[in-house]
C-alpha cells in the first residue's frame, strides 16, 4: 500500500523534471545499448558459425595438418608438418574397421570464367562423391558429382549460388561450360544459397571431382583434408583411435612423440568456439559496462542534486510521519525508474542497431531473451547501486534541519 504510493510519488517527481531526467539517462542508454548490441551480435555470429559447424554432423571428424592453433608459434610449427597425402586416404579406407566414409578434400584459389564473365581467386575444392553424404551441403539445381564422375575423372563442376548468380545470371547453368583455371568443366549442379558471415559470402565456391582436381593441379604443398565419418556416433572415438594408429605408422611418428596431424570433431569445434566467444563476451561487455558506470555516476550525481534541492520536501514528509525507509524507498524508486527507462530505451536502440547490422554485415542477429534480461537487470542494478547513497542521504536527514533548509 505505502510502497505503491511511494512509487507514484517518485514517478511524479521525475515527470515534473522531464528534460533533466532524459539527459541523466543518456549514459545509461548508451551503456545498455552497447551491451545489448554486443550480446546480440555475438549470439548471432556464434549462431551462424554453429550452424556451419553442425553441417559436419556429429559422427564425423576432420584430419589435417593445421586445423587448430592457439598461438602464432603453434601455427608456424604446424605449417611445417609433412602434408597429408592421397596414400593416407587409402590407408584409412582399407585399415579402419569402424569408419563408414572417408572423404579427402583439397582446395586452392582459381579464376573462373564463362564467356565474358569472370570471377577471380575463387575456392576450388576437389572432393569425392562422399562429400555430400558427410556434409550437409544442400543441392538447389542439378546434382553433386557421382561415383562415376570420380571414377572417370570427369570434368564436371558443382557451383555455389554466388558463382551461379555472377556467371549465369538469368540462364540455365546446367550443362554450361565453366573455365576453372585453364581447364574447361561442365556445370552439373548448383548449391542452395547460404548467405554470408560478416560480409564474406559463403556461396562462392566450385566443387570438382577429387581426381579431376588432382589431375589438373596435383596436390598442393598444404596437402589434403580428410573427413571421416564413423559408422555411428558411439563409434566416433573408436574410429578416431584407429585412424590415429594408422596415420602415425604411415607417417613414422615415434611412439614417444605427439601426433603430427590434427583431428577435430564438430563437438570439439563447438567447444573451441564457445571458449572463444566467452572471452570475447566478457571483454566486450566489460568495456561497455564502463559507460554504464559512467551513466550510473551521472544518475548518482543528479540524485544528490535532487536530494539537496528537495531537502525541504523531505523535511515536510518527515514532519508528517514519513519514516526513513519511506524516504529511502521513494528515492530508490526514482533512481531505478530512471535507469530502468534508460535500460528499456537502450534495449530498443540496441535491437534497432542490431537489425541495422544485419543489413550491413549480413550477420544473423539474435536480440535474444538473454540480451533483454541482461539489459533490464543491468539497468535496474545500476539504479540500485548508484541510487542507494543519495537515497540513504535523504533518509537520514534530520527533520528540523531539513525543514529550516533554505
Amino acid at each position: 500500500m505505502v510502497t505503491g504510493s511511494l512509487f507514484g510519488i517518485a514517478f511524479d517527481a521525475l515527470r515534473t523534471n522531464r528534460l533533466r531526467s532524459g539527459l541523466t539517462l543518456l549514459g545509461v542508454i548508451i551503456g545498455v545499448t552497447s551491451v545489448m548490441t554486443i550480446i546480440s551480435a555475438l549470439e548471432g555470429l556464434t549462431g551462424s558459425i554453429e550452424r556451419e559447424i553442425e553441417q559436419m554432423g556429429p559422427s564425423t571428424f576432420m584430419i589435417g595438418t593445421l586445423l587448430t592453433a592457439m598461438s602464432e608459434q603453434e601455427a608456424l610449427d604446424k605449417f611445417k608438418r609433412k602434408p597429408l597425402d592421397y596414400e593416407a586416404v587409402q590407408i584409412i579406407e582399407d585399415g579402419c574397421e569402424v569408419c563408414d566414409k572417408v572423404a579427402p578434400r583439397a582446395a586452392r584459389g582459381e579464376d573462373l570464367k564463362y564467356r565474358d564473365q569472370s570471377m577471380y581467386d575463387i575456392v576450388v575444392v576437389g572432393a569425392t562423391y562422399h562429400h555430400v553424404e558427410i556434409y550437409d551441403l544442400e543441392v538447389d539445381q542439378g546434382r553433386f558429382h557421382s561415383y562415376e564422375d570420380d571414377l572417370y575423372r570427369r570434368r564436371v563442376a558443382f557451383i555455389g549460388a554466388g558463382v551461379y548468380e555472377k556467371l549465369y545470371e538469368g540462364l540455365d547453368p546446367l550443362g554450361k561450360d565453366i573455365w576453372v583455371g585453364n581447364q574447361k568443366y561442365t556445370v552439373i549442379g548448383v548449391a542452395k544459397k547460404k548467405g554470408s558471415v560478416f560480409g564474406a559470402s559463403q556461396d562462392e565456391f566450385v566443387y570438382v571431382p577429387f581426381d579431376s582436381f588432382r589431375r589438373q593441379f596435383g596436390i598442393s604443398r598444404r596437402g589434403l583434408y580428410i573427413s571421416v565419418k564413423a559408422r555411428s556416433v558411439d563409434q566416433l572415438q573408436e574410429a578416431m583411435d584407429e585412424v590415429r594408429v594408422l596415420l602415425r605408422s604411415q607417417r613414422h611418428v615415434p611412439f614417444d612423440q605427439p601426433d603430427d596431424f590434427d583431428m577435430l570433431t564438430a563437438e570439439s569445434l563447438l567447444t573451441m568456439l564457445n571458449s572463444l566467444t566467452k572471452i570475447l563476451r566478457f571483454g566486450l561487455v566489460g568495456i561497455s559496462s564502463i559507460s554504464l558506470v559512467v551513466g550510473g555516476i551521472v544518475v548518482m550525481n543528479i540524485m544528490m542534486v535532487s536530494v539537496t534541492e528537495r531537502t525541504r520536501e523531505i523535511g515536510i514528509r518527515k514532519s508528517v510521519g514519513a519514516k526513513r525507509r519511506h524516504i529511502l524507498t521513494q528515492f530508490l524508486f526514482e533512481a531505478v525508474i530512471l535507469t530502468l527507462s534508460g535500460g528499456i530505451v537502450g534495449i530498443v536502440a540496441g535491437f534497432l542497431i542490431a537489425s541495422a547490422l544485419v543489413g550491413m554485415l549480413n550477420v544473423q542477429m539474435n536480440p535474444s531473451a538473454l540480451a533483454i534480461t541482461a539489459g533490464l537487470t543491468v539497468s535496474t542494478g545500476t539504479g540500485l547501486v548508484f541510487g542507494i547513497y543519495p537515497a540513504l542521504k535523504a533518509a537520514r536527514l534530520d527533520p528540523i534541519k531539513a525543514l529550516s533548509y533554505e
Binding site: V2, S319, R324, I400
Partner: protein
C-alpha cells in the same frame, strides 16, 4: 496521567567550542483539552520546545511523556509514528509541498500510515471542508492566499485526528485580518475538544488561549491562567 509531561528538559547545541543552551530544564504539564500559548522574546527557546513536544526533535537531557508514553527515548521510526498519528503541526511558513494540490498536501500524512487511496481522499476532503476550503482542493499552494495556505496546513494537521495540535507562530506570516480568521478556526477546533499549543509573539493572539507559558532564556518564567473575561475570541 496528563497528556503532556516534561521533566527537566534540556536542549543544548554544540556550536564549535561553544555550547548554546536553547532549553534549560523545562518542566511542564499540559492536560487534554487545554489551550496553551507559549510566549517569549526571540531566541528564548519557544520553537525548540515546540519541536520537542512535537517529536520533531529529541531532548539533550530530561524526560518527556506524551499520552503516558515515554517519547524522550524513542528511536526515529517510533517518533515518526507519533508525529504521524498523535501530532498535527502547523508552521509559520506553512511547509506545504509546492507542486502538490491542496488535496494531495492534506493526504500526505495518510500516505505514510497505509490508508487506502479511497479513504485518503475522503478524509482529506473532510478535513479541507472543516477549514472551509472544500472549493479549493485542486489548487496548488501558489494559487492560494496566505490564509488559505495556512488553512490547508491546518487541514493536513487535523486529517489524522491527532491528540495534539501544535502551531508555531501560525499567524506570523499573515496580515491581521487573516490572522483573525486563523485564530477563529483554532478557537473552533479547541471548542470541538482538540488540545492546542500555540507559539506567538503577540499578546492578542496569546489571549485566545486559556493559559500562557512565558519563556525566558530557555526557562519557563511564568505560567499564568487567563481569566475567562480577558480571553479573546468566543469560548
Amino acid at each position: 496521567m496528563s497528556l503532556i509531561e516534561t521533566k527537566n528538559l534540556w536542549k543544548t547545541y554544540e556550536m564549535g567550542a561553544e555550547q548554546v543552551h536553547a532549553l534549560r530544564g523545562v518542566t511542564i504539564t499540559i492536560e487534554k483539552g487545554e489551550y496553551v500559548a507559549i510566549m517569549g522574546p526571540s531566541g528564548s527557546g519557544k520553537s525548540t520546545l515546540m519541536n520537542l513536544i512535537g517529536c520533531l526533535d529529541t531532548p539533550s537531557q530530561g524526560e518527556y511523556w506524551l499520552n503516558s508514553r515515554k517519547v524522550s527515548q524513542m528511536n526515529d521510526d517510533e517518533l515518526a509514528n507519533i508525529r504521524n498519528r498523535e501530532i498535527g503541526f502547523v508552521f509559520q511558513t506553512f511547509n506545504l509541498l509546492p507542486r502538490a494540490t491542496a488535496l494531495h498536501n492534506v493526504e500526505l500524512p495518510l500516505i505514510y500510515n497505509g490508508t487506502s487511496a479511497q479513504d485518503r481522499h475522503a478524509k482529506a476532503m473532510r478535513a479541507l471542508e472543516k477549514v472551509d476550503l472544500g472549493d479549493r482542493v485542486t489548487h496548488k499552494p501558489s494559487e492560494l492566499s496566505g490564509g488559505q495556505r495556512q488553512r490547508v496546513a491546518m487541514a493536513r494537521a487535523l486529517v489524522n485526528d491527532p491528540s495534539l495540535l501544535l502551531a508555531d507562530e501560525p499567524t506570523g506570516n499573515l496580515d491581521s485580518k487573516t490572522s483573525v480568521e486563523i485564530m477563529k478556526l483554532l478557537d473552533e477546533l479547541h471548542r470541538q475538544g482538540n488540545t492546542i499549543i500555540i507559539v506567538t509573539h503577540e499578546k492578542d493572539i496569546a489571549q485566545h488561549a486559556h493559559r500562557v507559558l512565558s519563556i525566558l532564556d530557555g526557562e519557563i518564567a511564568e505560567d499564568t491562567t487567563i481569566p475567562q473575561e480577558q480571553r479573546n475570541g468566543v469560548h
